[in-house]
Amino acid sequence: MLFTDRTTQTVEWALKAQAERQRVVAHNIANVNTPGFRATKLEFEQSLATALGRTNGGTARAERSATNDPVGLNGNNVSLEKELETLDKSNIHYEALTSALTSKFSQLRTAIGR
């Protein structure tokens, strides 16, 4: 059970989800001028919270869906400000998660006397 405890698994899952969110945002920003392109967003916080709330275990999933932002004249609906905000937030979340994981490993290191 050394690396399969709930904390490690949850943090790892959240790290993956944040990284995927950043890929989605990068894709949206790369297509900020592509005619007809529709932006998508990745959501998982709600699902993760619900899964963690269950005592007998649950499955969290990250879902990609279309944003409902207004569509411009060229059929594109990427909102640059929103995307950059999401990216910045995700980056900070990612850093918080990595330091949580580092703390967890540091605890384990203490436990094994190193």
């Binding site: 990284a19 950043q22 920003i29 790369a30 990612y94």
Partner: protein, 135 residues
């Protein structure tokens, strides 16, 4: 799902913006390139782009499909002293619209910068991933 996928998508976006900037600079440089009426006029270059799908493990991002030329009949200018003028004294003017080009220049420039910002943030994320477990 590629390692450093966010970087790949952002780099593709920056590359497309640069291709667009190149096309704009070509157009502006040729804004006064007159041609004889029996020749094809200089036509403004337009960059045609397409989304690269993220489905089925695709890398995502954007790519240049081709460089197209702005369609339309060439505009004739009466300039009988021009060395390329035909028997009516006409020469063909390129269909470059400077106001369009300058607007596109701003958009392409800002798009390039936005993609560079994504690269900066994505790099910071990947760096924090590399620090996991540091004492």
């Amino acid at each position: 799902m590629a390692l450093f996928g966010a970087l790949d998508a952002a780099v593709s976006g920056a590359t497309v913006s640069r291709v667009w900037l190149d096309a704009i600079s070509d157009n502006v440089a040729n804004v006064n390139t007159m041609r004889a009426t029996n020749q094809e006029p200089f036509r403004a270059r337009m960059v045609v782009v397409n989304e690269v799908s993220r489905d089925l493990g695709g890398t995502g991002g954007v790519r240049t499909v081709r460089i197209a030329e702005r369609p339309g009949e060439p505009e004739l200018v009466y300039d009988p002293t021009h060395p390329l003028a035909d028997e009516n004294g006409d020469v063909e003017r390129p269909n470059v619209d400077l106001s369009v080009e300058m607007t596109n220049l701003l958009i392409a420039n800002r798009t390039y910068q936005s993609n560079l910002r994504v690269i900066e943030i994505a790099r910071s994320t990947y760096q924090s991933a590399l620090r996991i477990g540091d004492k």
